[in-house]
């Protein structure tokens, strides 16, 4: 690895980790104010302009709170659990491509931290590791509500993981690759001359199944049974406080971020420019060329715009998570299982069969 690649790697990792970490307070603010406005309230609006400083202030509060460990817990596992939940959430983002390639000194550099051969399988594998954190938290808490919450979570994960995987298969078959960058590349161009060839248009059923399953995977409403405030106190994190609770909270938003990134990558053309953004490439490139000159300014412009359109797509889905949370009530447990096994699972299987048949007949 030479110098340029090393610098590029550092820049990528720094940018991704910084964005992920700083998205949490922003999302907390968006969630609190968004929910308030949807419920005809105003929400936190005192700390800083529009209340934007509320989240940093809360972080400070959480950091300085007493780090209390109840006497009846299994200490080692109890302390370990939040980290076990958070780390997979961070790791998953490593394979998500957030912009196209760029050539410097004849070397093609990918805007993706790790270009693994297993691609999407890595995401599916790592993202389901998070459930261990929840199980550990529930078990170590030595509390029946926590235990119920974590058991619910694992049952939910298993039920929805299947549909999640199967709904992705359709996209993998169409892209004929499990590399996320290839899947994005397969979504370029147009169908019927005007619709972007995005997964949502070529695989609408796969998209709906994936979207629903990712809500279940991230434990967000309407599938937040592992937490279920009104039923089991706070589920698996009942016994947690201060920064350890904040880590659970962060993990939830990280998972949301990863899920949004995956939805955008698989079904919304990933980092491909939003329609109409192509015109901005040259001006942006010229702007960037004022600050440093390496490679082709037009390429840099494209890279920046691609990162921006990826962020817009991810941002929209983050908002969508919030939007749905404050619209739909929680599912009952049997409804959740029925939906998972009797609706989504057959639907994704059928989608797979139809996709395979259409591909065999060369319709798509």
């Amino acid at each position: 690895m030479d110098r340029i690649e090393l610098i590029w790697m550092g820049v990528k990792i720094g940018a991704v980790v910084f964005t992920m970490l700083s998205s949490v307070p922003v999302m907390v603010w968006v969630e609190r104010r968004g929910s308030a406005l949807m419920q005809n309230r105003l929400g936190p609006n005192r700390v800083g302009p529009l209340g934007i400083l509320q989240a940093p202030v809360d972080v400070v509060k959480l950091l300085f709170k007493e780090d209390f460990i109840p006497a009846h817990v299994e200490k080692v596992i109890f302390v370990l659990a939040p980290a076990v939940l958070l780390i997979p959430a961070f790791m998953t983002f490593a394979v998500v491509p957030f912009a196209g390639d760029i050539a410097i000194d004849g070397k093609a550099l990918h805007a993706q931290i790790a270009d693994l051969d297993v691609g999407i399988l890595y995401v599916l594998a790592i993202s389901s590791l998070g459930v261990y954190g929840i199980i550990m938290a529930g078990w170590a808490s030595n509390n029946k509500y926590s235990m119920i919450g974590s058991l619910r979570s694992s049952a939910q994960m298993i039920s929805y993981e299947l549909s999640l995987g199967l709904s992705v298969l359709g996209m993998i078959m169409m892209a004929e690759s499990i590399h996320l960058r290839d899947i994005v590349a397969a979504q370029s161009g147009h169908i019927f001359g005007f619709l972007p060839r995005w997964g949502v248009f070529t695989q609408p059923i796969g998209f709906i199944v994936f979207l629903t399953a990712s809500f279940a995977e991230t434990n967000r409403l309407p599938f937040d049974l592992p937490e279920g405030e009104s039923e089991i106190v706070a589920g698996y994190h009942t016994e947690y406080g201060a920064m350890k609770f904040a880590l659970f909270f962060m993990a939830e938003y990280m998972n949301m971020l990863v899920a949004s990134a995956l939805i955008s990558t698989l079904f919304f053309g990933g980092f491909q420019l939003l329609p109409g953004m192509g015109r901005l490439i040259d001006p942006t490139g010229a702007l960037i060329a004022k600050f440093f000159t390496a490679g082709n300014p037009a390429d840099w412009g494209r890279l920046a715009l691609e990162a921006v359109s990826f962020s817009i797509k991810v941002g929209f889905f983050m908002w969508f998570f919030v939007w749905v949370r404050w619209t739909l009530p929680r599912f009952r447990y049997d409804q959740l299982m029925n939906l998972g096994w009797k609706v989504l699972f057959p639907l994704s299987l059928a989608n797979l069969v139809v996709t395979a048949a259409l591909m065999y007949l060369r319709v798509i």
């Binding site: 968004g34 308030a36 406005l37 949807m38 419920q39 005809n40 309230r41 105003l42 709906i208 939007w323 749905v324 404050w326 619209t327 739909l328």
Partner: protein, 149 residues
Amino acid sequence: MLVKSKPSLRHRFYLFEILTGLSITMKNFFFGRKVTIQFPEERRIYSSRFRGLHYIKAVNGVENCTACMLCPTVCPSECIHIEAGERADKEKYPVTFEIDILRCCYCGYCEEACPKDAIKLSAIYEMARLTRADGVLDKENLLVQRGKK
């Protein structure tokens, strides 16, 4: 009577219903009239019958109270404490008059019982205190005319 109606296909399909729900929340997000009262600047208007912090009505700087002891008798929380005395003109008056607002349940019976139109409940509802001792209003404090009753 239990009326069972089977939801229509459109309802059971969920997706359209979810979209309707999403549009309703969005409508509230943008156009909903926000009901929040921004407290220190804005205040809720209570009715004139609201029962808040007490005061003793004074006319020309002299309290109406004659220490008849009706209000401590009627008070269900037993939080009024009066020591009576005699003025130079032989009129009975309260030497000390204390109300423990931490015990008071704001029932307003004292106001109703008072034959002299003396003890009143104002519309003030902010009663946070730093110490328990501050929660006991003395006569001087009660003579602050907090309302127009």
